[in-house]
């Protein structure tokens, strides 16, 4: 499996007066294609900051983040977010004045997805995450939290990005739906060669991942749980 993303000596801190309050300190880690990663750790351990850095929503205080060997700053943060990474946010971050399908189509249009029938493709993706056609035409604010989360996932997987980053994607879902979403993300990793990184508190999801990364204060432990068989 080839290396997709690597962090070299990455640190991130806040300034508190004259002192530096480190969230991440000298992190070195590599992420590969076709692998389903989970990141676990207590609150305040820097999970969300870590995700923000690898999805180019923020920049590290020091160190480098390389995508296929190229520094993100060289690729350009906006271009990286547009072409190389898909993000599932903990708080869904859907566009409230749009319907579910419009949200998915917007994601596709922004990232330049070329599809003969974008609308049909968006319906298929929504169906895949358990959203009916009727729900697809509803304004997202009229959907439940779980349904909004699924729309957010559909939007993320609608783009051809090789890196999918998800922050607590099943936090608002019932057990059955959560399971189907995780299965979907695993399939994207194993069948479509994507690198999927999921932040979760759910130990069952973590134990089902290929690689589990445990984040504690200023320390990161990478634990391979499964050998990945690419289909």
């Amino acid at each position: 499996m080839s290396e997709l993303l690597s962090l070299q000596q990455v640190s991130y801190w806040y300034k508190q007066g004259s002192k530096q309050q480190f969230i991440l300190k000298n992190v070195d880690i590599t992420f590969e294609r076709s692998t389903f990663y989970t990141i676990v750790g207590p609150s305040g351990s820097g999970k969300t900051t870590f995700l923000a850095l690898i999805s180019a929503l923020d920049i590290p205080g020091s160190g480098k983040i390389l995508y296929e060997g190229t520094d993100l700053s060289k690729i350009g943060l906006t271009r990286f977010r547009n072409q190389y990474v898909s993000i599932v946010f903990q708080s869904y971050n859907l566009l409230p004045y749009m319907t579910a399908i419009q949200n998915v189509i917007t994601g596709m249009e922004i990232t330049g997805v070329k599809h003969q029938n974008k609308k049909q493709y968006a319906f298929d993706l929504l169906k895949r995450v358990g959203i009916t056609k009727e729900q697809a035409h509803q304004k997202v604010l009229t959907l439940s939290g779980g349904q909004q989360q699924r729309v957010s996932i559909a939007r993320a997987i609608s783009t051809p990005a090789n890196l999918i980053v998800a922050d607590e994607p099943t936090g608002n879902l019932d057990e059955e739906t959560a399971k189907s979403i995780i299965t979907l993300l695993q399939k994207l990793a194993h069948e479509e060669g994507k690198c999927v990184i999921v932040v979760t508190h759910d130990q069952s999801i973590a134990s089902n991942s290929d690689v589990k990364i445990t984040l504690t204060k200023e320390k990161m432990v990478k634990e391979r749980l499964k050998e990945v068989i690419v289909k």
């Binding site: 923000a52 923020d58 977010r81 993000i87 971050n93 859907l94 004045y97 922004i110």
Partner: protein, 482 residues
């Protein structure tokens, strides 16, 4: 082009806010269009008035300057005598590009030879009744130092004389005197004088100079009628009776004066009142006229009086456009700022999923443009009516204000006495009509300008708040929102 689609979705979903924005933009557009339309109409009226009125400049003796600054002899001359203008000097100004026409005046008086002036018989009878010595008073002669029966107006063009310009006199038979009659022994007489003496066109009359006692025979070329008032003094001074006024070519008037190559006054008709100053400057710098003795008096009073209210309206509408543009931009900016602050989260989301900043700016501008197009459409429908109503209302107010600020009524009597006594063909005494209505219509140029101003307002009022948010990174925006 997805940002245009997003803009459309956003506008149609947020109906309430879009309507508020529509109302604000429509009001701004209507005011701007109204202001621009009134300005254009005022400018057009101004051009029309200028073309219609023109302006004139009179070359005459600067008596005031001579009395105040002249040496003793010159001062006396200025106070008690006529200082003639050399006709060559006056002619030196007629080639100016600003001169559309001109007229020369040389006035004198004369005595009748073989006919009776109007009022001569009555005066004679009253003199006899008063018991005065007939032998001391010849028919038609005065005992007060002036023996003149006739007022003789030497002109280049009789149709440009004051009385004809202001409509008090009009030709009823024959032809006016023109520059072609220069040097000819022809005249134009008043209808009452002609019928009293049984004259018709082609008849000859004889007059005698007061100065040289030389007789001149004149052929009647034209007969005119006048409605000028007969002043009370005309009973004793016959030449003051407007019926006893005859028009002759300049040379004939000079012959009766015993002079040659002189005039009393020259009037130059300028093609545009705006060129009056340029003409005077040009005359001062290029001609050989002695401007210590003579003066060029500008007369654009008629134009100024006509244009006064309309210029005030134009100036007011100019201020409206400026104020509305500034106030509109501020109001629009505040509305857009409030809207954009509410949509900070949306911007964070779009940035997080890879949207370019320029497209986000584009989305907000397109959103306002969609509403602005509707607003401008509404302003086009209503702008014409509003501009017409407001423009003419403003003009009416200005006219009322102008009337109120005019001279006191008691001055009118003086004006009435003075009117008509001026010798030259100066149009200053003409009845002045102010422009009481302007034709207001929205033009393509107005629309283009309004759209331009509107776009500028929209872009400025959108860019300022949007850029302040877009310089933040998406994580900060989303974190702050959370």
């Amino acid at each position: 082009m997805n940002f245009i689609k997003r803009a459309y979705w956003s506008v149609t979903v947020r109906k309430g806010k879009s309507i508020i924005l529509l109302v604000v933009l429509a009001v701004i557009s209507v005011f701007v269009l109204t202001g621009l339309t009134i300005q254009t109409a005022a400018e057009e009226s101004s051009i029309l008035a200028r073309q219609e009125l023109g302006g004139d400049v009179t070359l005459t003796v600067d008596r005031q300057s001579l009395v105040e600054n002249g040496v003793t002899e010159r001062r006396k001359q200025a106070m008690f005598q006529t200082i003639p203008i050399d006709i060559e000097d006056a002619e030196s100004l007629i080639d100016s590009e600003h001169v559309e026409g001109f007229n020369f005046y040389s006035a004198t008086s004369a005595m009748t030879n073989d006919f009776t002036a109007i009022g001569a018989e009555e005066r004679e009878e009253s003199t006899i009744e008063d018991g005065q010595d007939q032998g001391s008073i010849m028919p038609g002669r005065m005992g007060n130092g002036s023996n003149a029966d006739l007022d003789v107006q030497g002109v280049l063009y009789s149709d440009a004389a004051t009385s004809f310009i202001n409509g008090q006199s009009e030709i009823v038979e024959g032809e006016h005197l023109t520059a072609d009659d220069a040097g000819k022994k022809v005249t134009m007489v008043e209808g009452n004088l002609a019928s009293e003496n049984g004259w018709s066109i082609g008849d000859e009359i004889s007059v005698t100079s007061e100065e040289t006692e030389e007789s001149v025979t004149l052929e009647i070329k034209g007969i005119y009628s006048t409605s000028e008032e007969v002043p009370p003094q005309a009973e004793r001074i016959l030449s003051m009776n407007p019926y006893n006024s005859i028009y002759v070519p300049i040379e004939v008037a000079n012959q009766l004066k015993g002079e040659e190559g002189i005039i009393d006054q020259a009037i130059y008709y300028i093609n545009d009142p705006l060129n009056i100053d340029a003409f005077i400057e040009e005359a001062k710098s290029e001609s050989t006229i002695d401007f210590d003795t003579f003066i060029l008096n500008a007369n654009d009073q008629l134009y100024q009086q006509m244009m006064g209210p309309i210029e005030n309206v134009s100036s007011f509408s100019n201020k409206i456009v400026l104020l509305v543009t500034i106030a509109g931009s501020i109001i629009l900016g505040l509305i857009v700022m409030m809207t954009i602050r509410e949509r900070k989260y949306e911007m964070g989301v779009l940035l997080a999923i890879g949207e370019k900043r320029i497209k986000l700016v584009g989305q907000f501008i397109v959103e306002i443009l969609i509403v602005a197009v509707l607003a401008m459409g509404l302003s086009l429908i209503t702008g014409n009516y509003v501009a017409d109503a407001v423009g003419n209302q403003l003009l009416e107010q200005e006219l009322t204000a102008t009337e109120e600020s005019d001279e006191p009524q008691s001055f009118a009597k003086r004006r009435g006495m003075m009117g008509g006594m001026e010798a030259g063909g100066n149009i200053q005494n003409q009845d002045v009509q102010t422009i009481e209505e302007i034709s207001i219509g929205v033009t393509a140029a107005n629309i283009i300008l309004m759209v331009g101003i509107g776009l500028l307002c929209i872009i400025v009022s959108t860019l300022v708040p949007v850029l302040s948010i877009l310089r933040m990174n998406p994580k900060t925006i989303l974190t702050n929102q959370d």
